[in-house]
Symmetry: C2
Subunit: 522 residues, 2 copies
């Protein structure tokens, strides 16, 4: 997988590999492959179907150029064609290799490309390897299979993508959640959690894995700041944690929202400036080899590719390759072929230009949503809000009765990704007070559900925040049991898919429902 | 996933679902999808990237027609083009859906196609569903995750594909091997194994899963006969086993070898006759819903597709879908798009015609290998062989000293798949006698290794049979400890990839090495 010169050696992290992963052996069939390459060897050993028996002869993919004006549907764009055929002359991209079984390690040129990109973007200080995988869902599944024992605890953000958790809930694994502010999870909280870990009362050993979507997190939209990155990394060194950096939104970083600004036309930066504008990753500061980075093309090319790659300590990629051999084999050949052909056509610089255009698109969409919130609500900065310990901005209604602002929900302006995470405040809402008086187990959840249903009835769909609660076991589900702030609940708003008009109309509908509940004050 | 009318209901098999699989819950995010479809709904809930931001606009695949004359490289064939674009009119195949995230269940039309094929080929008596998966390697991994507990025993053929085992060895799972004759594993042995199962001495509960590559098995080439299929199924009913039918070579069935026959030109049968010529599957006789069939396009279209499907009791597919959501998501979109477009172009009948052409190719290649063995050795039928309990054919050398035939290896003429499995007899070979006299732990393995190395030196590569031994734990590795026939060992010969000339030269080289060892009699 190609070596990188002058890299630091990783510290010994072999104790992080779990019992099952340790006991994997390479397939003897992979051993025999090297003999097939001997000069003049006649192999009666292979179990591969003969490539002349594959019905696909040529593939052509017509693609946008990296400079395409995205989102401007009326613009005519000249497409570039990627042509793949069988048995081309050396140097050309031969389709045959992508139709055949692979070795598990993935196409070599694609691996090399992953390394080139890694050096350009992260320049990791420590020795690493890249290994292809079929998307971050599967990558995370393989990492859990590498590092976690049954009934372990994993450190995650307080709010985390549910499928990442649904994977390990059947293994008895639980979350040890750490709360975040606008700059990401709090290193102090992380240290506290680890320092005070009591195996007995917790019912499991101290966590060894930190799982984070560190940029434009799903659902919170938070991007971990450069300073916070360093603080968190330091705690992980201190307490010997492996950091799993699941970072599909990394290239979708953009500047913050400014209410007064006119819509800026798209103007790409130089590649160097573009790369400099990105927050540093954990990988870029990993002097010990304790970061496993999950890269995905799902958000930058398209999700149906089911293609991405691990960047990790060779100690880990070797074990992940063993799992790949028996669990998935190589990612799909057409996905590998398309991606490699696209990069051959665009170049790495072309890809980085394409990413700038994507960034601009997501920034524009983020602006649509936040502008719509500004249009429908009075938005004040958290500092000016009547609420304690709130971050970012607060969307308020003017309370006619008392002539004052009533806070409804707060949100952090996302500087990456696709989501605005909002925290709703139920204090003073009469319907909530009614529910609270009924001595329900979880009045917050009950009211959040009513609110959500009322919005559905008004034909606007948000994602309930409850979907993203860290799974701490069946006894820690209610707002109170989780120790969450009382009289509040979260919703996730996505700006990835709807049009500007839909976003404006959607927020108007939200406002209507909110008005009904919030103006009826108790 | 579409229902099949007038099917029998499955018996209750819910006790077969293991503890971890039972505790999987559907993702709440999947729940919300149904609200997105409401008339007039504005969704701020989706986390999907906007399809206008995918760079791929059109794909074209140029393919062979199903009637192509395979293996005839000089023949010019008119290719058929599969064209896919974005936002086509309804009815056409729109590329966009394949570029986006799926729901885990796979494309509906492709699922329908899988069902149509299943009805045409197997007409299962019991209610079933089809669920896409990214290849049989992953499918088997998901089935182990569905049915097996750690430290279970799984019933397999005495010789089984090593990656199928490498998957579960880290889970502490062991094989309970059942021996086979030319018609497949012996139902009597299977019953005996189950009847006499002693949990204490075995250290685990009675097996509940039978894993078989039932047609053209890798490595043994054995196809389970219709009669044997029924006997095995009956034992599985009696002892409540789930049958996992991993059947990638099902469509590569062909008539047996006849030494005198001239090479027959390719003449396709009618589709009906073709289907009638195939041995019945376990699925076709599954009146209880206890068969999980793993279908793959790897051997019939191409392996790089990483696409296949489960056919199983809806009780099982529902749990497998839950695993799919968190472990892999849908198979790659381009693979799904290509396969659906190919079927739309070829039709199911076209595909079945294509399969006949493949069959003929593999039959031809099988004939090349066996003819080469006939050319280099004196082949006698097992009945006429001086060896006891041997099946199929025996390749012998003329022993000049005693003027008699000396048996070297036996093989069963494969009537499906890609492999000839050969059992070598070491009795009377002086080098083997030397090794035996050295009181090695496993003289058979030691001599097999020497023989294999001598062949490598002569530039012909076989696959050692030891790769395929059923894994019964580290204390049952040697020939003696496994209870295998003394003074023998196996090799697998594949005829899938080499040319006729390579096969002839390869067997000639084998003969040369064999001559050196076998003619030097003790």
């Amino acid at each position: 997988m190609g070596s990188q010169n002058r890299k630091q050696e990783a510290v010994d992290l072999s104790h992080h590999i779990n019992v099952k992963s340790k006991s994997r052996h390479p397939s003897p069939l992979k051993e025999i492959i090297k003999f097939m390459g001997y000069d003049g060897m006649i192999s009666l050993a292979g179990g591969l179907p003969h490539p002349s028996l594959f019905p696909l002869e040529k593939a052509r993919f017509d693609c946008l150029p990296p400079s395409a004006s995205l989102g401007n549907e009326s613009a005519e764009t000249d497409l570039v064609s990627l042509n793949l055929g069988r048995g081309l002359s050396p140097g050309d991209l031969d389709l045959t290799q992508f139709l055949q079984y692979g070795t598990g390690a993935g196409n070599r040129q694609l691996i090399q490309l992953a390394q080139d990109l890694t050096e350009r973007v992260h320049a990791p200080p420590c020795d690493y390897e890249c290994l292809l995988h079929p998307g971050n869902t599967n990558a995370w599944s393989k990492v859990v299979g590498l590092l976690c024992e049954d009934n372990d605890f994993v450190i995650i953000e307080e709010f985390t993508y549910p499928s990442a958790q649904a994977l390990w809930i059947p293994l008895g694994i639980k979350a040890a959640p750490v709360s975040a502010d606008a700059e990401g999870i709090l290193a102090t909280n992380l240290r506290e959690t680890l320092e005070n870990w009591d195996e007995k009362s917790r019912g499991g050993r101290r966590p060894r894995v930190l799982y984070l979507v560190s940029v434009g997190s799903n659902p919170t939209g938070i991007t971990i700041s450069a300073k916070r990155h360093k603080e968190i990394y330091q705690v992980c060194v201190e307490f010997d944690l492996v950091i799993v950096e699941d970072d599909p939104y990394y290239f979708l970083q953009y500047p913050g929202y400014s209410p007064q600004a006119e819509e800026q036309p798209y103007q790409p930066k130089s590649t160097g400036e573009f790369l400099k504008s990105l927050t540093p990753s954990f990988l870029s500061m990993d002097t010990q080899g304790r970061v496993i980075r999950l890269e995905s093309f799902s958000k930058t090319i398209f999700p149906g590719l089911r293609l991405g790659y691990f960047i990790a300590n060779p100690l880990f990629t070797e074990r992940l390759l063993r799992a790949t051999e028996v669990e998935t084999q190589d990612p799909a050949g057409l996905s590998q072929a398309f991606t490699l052909a696209l990069f051959n056509q665009w170049g790495v610089d072309g890809y980085l230009l394409w990413l700038q255009s994507l960034q601009y698109q997501y920034k524009t969409r983020r602006d649509w949503l936040i502008s719509a919130i500004y249009d429908q609500f009075t938005v004040v900065s958290a500092a000016k809000s009547p609420l304690p310990t709130v971050q970012g901005y607060v969307a308020c209604l003017q309370d006619k009765a008392i002539g004052k602002l009533r806070p409804v929900f707060s949100f952090v302006d996302p500087e990456a990704g696709m989501f605005v995470w909002s925290k709703f405040y139920f204090g003073g809402v009469s319907r909530f007070a009614e529910l609270e008086a009924q001595s329900l187990e979880d009045p917050e959840q009950a009211f959040a559900q009513e609110l959500w249903e009322a919005m559905v009835a008004e034909l606007v769909l948000l994602t309930p925040g409850s979907y993203y609660h860290a799974w701490q076991g069946p006894d820690k589900i209610s707002t109170k049991a989780r120790g969450a702030d009382p009289r509040s609940a979260f919703f996730r708003l996505s700006f990835a898919t709807p049009t500007k008009e839909q976003i404006e109309e959607g927020v108007k509908r939200m406002r209507k429902v909110i008005g009904r509940f919030w103006e009826a004050t108790s």
